[in-house]
């Protein structure tokens, strides 16, 4: 059974349709990469899955229950989903450790010592051992984003959403964040990534989905999408990406 099932989801902003009937299924331990130009609806789709946006039609199911049911408790849904944002969104008034342990302590009822031990273990594993007591603005962008990833996985979510997590980073810092994501894949984390890193998507994804104008035009294994895309719009997009890289 699929872990996440998105059924004919529509979303409008001020009369503009940002998502036009998206269908997508994600199996446990699967890594799905959403690619497409800015404004194609990748971020909106992720925000809808996390209920940060309410959808205008369709349904989203997590573990077999509909989370877009208006009677469902959004906090209960979000307890099972982690999310990482493009701009990190760390809490600037808290140390790295407090950023990571806030949700485990306040939402999941984990004892402070346990939450701290787990946070330190994760920091250690992702090369941030010495940074527990630092405030976010003392860290580099790459370090901040790695902390944000740790914060999102510290509650052991069923599903992790990553919204263009490397777009705000300079190229030398991108690899350290991608390394963390690669490691999460090895632990079996189910993930949906909106990304502009085509090489990385090709490398890590089980399924690549191409979105344009709020429509999921084509999806399939990365070899197929990147080497032999069927849809002319996908071909055009990948062509543009390729040209941009050559410059």
């Amino acid at each position: 059974m699929s872990l996440l099932k998105i059924e004919d989801v529509w979303k409008h902003y001020h009369g503009l349709s940002v998502l036009r009937g998206i269908d997508l299924e994600v199996a446990p331990h699967e890594v799905v990469c959403l690619i497409g130009a800015s404004g194609s609806g990748k971020s909106t789709l992720l925000r809808c899955v996390n209920l940060l946006e309410t959808i205008d039609d369709g349904a989203i199911h997590l573990d077999g229950t509909e989370i877009t049911d208006v009677r469902a408790d959004p906090d209960d849904v979000r307890r099972r989903i982690g999310m990482v944002f493009q701009a990190y969104n760390l809490f600037p008034h808290m140390t790295v450790l407090d950023n990571i342990t806030l949700a485990p302590r306040k939402v999941h009822g984990v004892r402070p010592e346990e939450a701290e031990a787990r946070a330190r273990e994760l920091l250690d594993r992702f090369g941030l051992a010495g940074k527990a007591g630092e405030y976010p603005d003392r860290l580099s962008g790459g370090q901040q984003q790695r902390v944000a990833v740790i914060r999102a996985v510290a509650t052991d979510p069923r599903l992790l959403l990553l919204d263009e997590v490397t777009s705000a980073l300079d190229p030398t810092l991108v690899t350290e964040v991608l390394g963390v994501i690669r490691e999460l894949k090895e632990t079996g984390m189910t993930m949906i990534l909106a990304t502009h890193e085509m090489g990385f998507a090709r490398d890590i994804a089980d399924t690549v989905c191409f979105l344009e104008g709020g429509v999921l035009l084509e999806s399939g294994p990365p070899e197929q999408i990147f080497s032999a895309p069927e849809h002319p719009r996908t071909q055009a997009f990948l062509q543009r990406v390729l040209e941009a890289r050559r410059m």
Binding site: F91, P92, L102, V107, G127, L128, D137, T155
Partner: protein, 298 residues
């Protein structure tokens, strides 16, 4: 995947060149020092000219001898100082007590205005009504209304002491202002912070308490202190209810001696209290500005 991996390696074989100040930089710095000296001299000269013009202008006015006698009498100053100072202690007490309640009322009203649940609609409406009404009434009018209105109700347990009534009026008036300051602070926290907190499954209340308010309160400290400078002065308005605070004591002395110097005594005391507070506010604001521009992006 350890930090600083990319930075290492470069420092081993290729040493960066050491800096020796160039001839050009030395000339540049000498020119800047010269300019700084000139600025100081110009500022000093212009200050002296302005001060002399003011002193000459005022002291040569036809009414000056009379003003000096009625407002600047050393004897009257010394005679009034102990009483006015004793009254001023009451002003400070009223200020300190009112301040605590104002912070509580202001924060409470601001938080209530941000509640989403329909259950809280009446509370939310009340909070809006409160800020609208009490920001609209001049503080002195409110002091009259509370000071003479509440005792007139003759209810059991209502305070009749003018100091208490004065404090209540000040809290009602300033609470409305401070609520708006807090609300502005709450709204200044970027929505992405809320999104991050909610995505971690924190409830609205938890998000407010752990993420939004700590950041909001830090941001509004300078404007809050500004309101408190204003509150320190407005404690003098309570004099209309009769308690023997600084202004009242000064009035008593003026009434018996027909010399206005006691008012000057009171004014100087208020200045002595508000100036340090104002400087402290400036200092905090400057520090916040430095953090925003110098420090990180957060």
């Amino acid at each position: 995947m350890t930090d600083g991996q990319s930075a290492a390696g470069a420092s081993e074989d290729t040493k960066p060149p050491a800096w020796v100040k160039s001839e050009r930089q030395l000339r540049r710095e000498a020119e800047l020092r010269g300019r700084a000296r000139r600025s100081v001299s110009v500022a000093t000269a212009s200050t002296i000219v302005v001060v002399v013009a003011l002193v000459v202008g005022i002291t040569s006015s036809p009414g000056w001898p009379r003003v000096r006698e009625t407002f600047l009498s050393p004897e009257a100053f010394v005679a009034a100082l102990p009483d006015v100072l004793r009254g001023f202690v009451l002003n400070i007490e009223m200020f300190l007590i009112a301040e605590v309640f104002i912070l509580v009322v202001g924060l409470l009203v601001a938080v209530v205005r941000g509640l989403r649940s329909p259950v809280f609609f009446p509370l939310r409406a009340l909070a809006v009504l409160y800020t609208d009404v009490f920001r609209g009434i001049p503080t002195i009018l409110l002091i009259y209304l509370v000071g003479f209105g509440i005792p007139a109700l003759q209810l059991q347990g209502t305070p009749s002491d003018p100091v208490t009534l004065g404090i209540i009026a000040l809290v009602l008036s300033y609470g409305a202002y401070v609520a708006e300051v807090f609300r502005a602070g709450i709204e200044s926290v970027h929505p992405s912070q809320r999104a991050a907190a909610r995505s971690l499954a924190l409830s609205h209340g938890q998000t407010m308490r752990h993420v939004v308010l700590p950041q909001a309160v830090r941001r509004v400290i300078p404007p809050l202190l500004n309101d408190f400078v204003s509150l320190q002065k407005d404690t003098a308005l309570v004099s209309v209810l009769g308690p023997l605070e600084a202004l009242r004591q000064a009035q008593i002395h003026v009434a018996s001696s027909f010399n206005y110097t006691p008012y000057l005594v009171a004014a100087l005391l208020f200045i002595a209290l508000t100036v340090p507070m104002a400087r402290f506010t400036d200092h905090l604001a400057a520090r916040a500005a430095r953090r925003r521009t110098g420090g990180g992006t957060a």
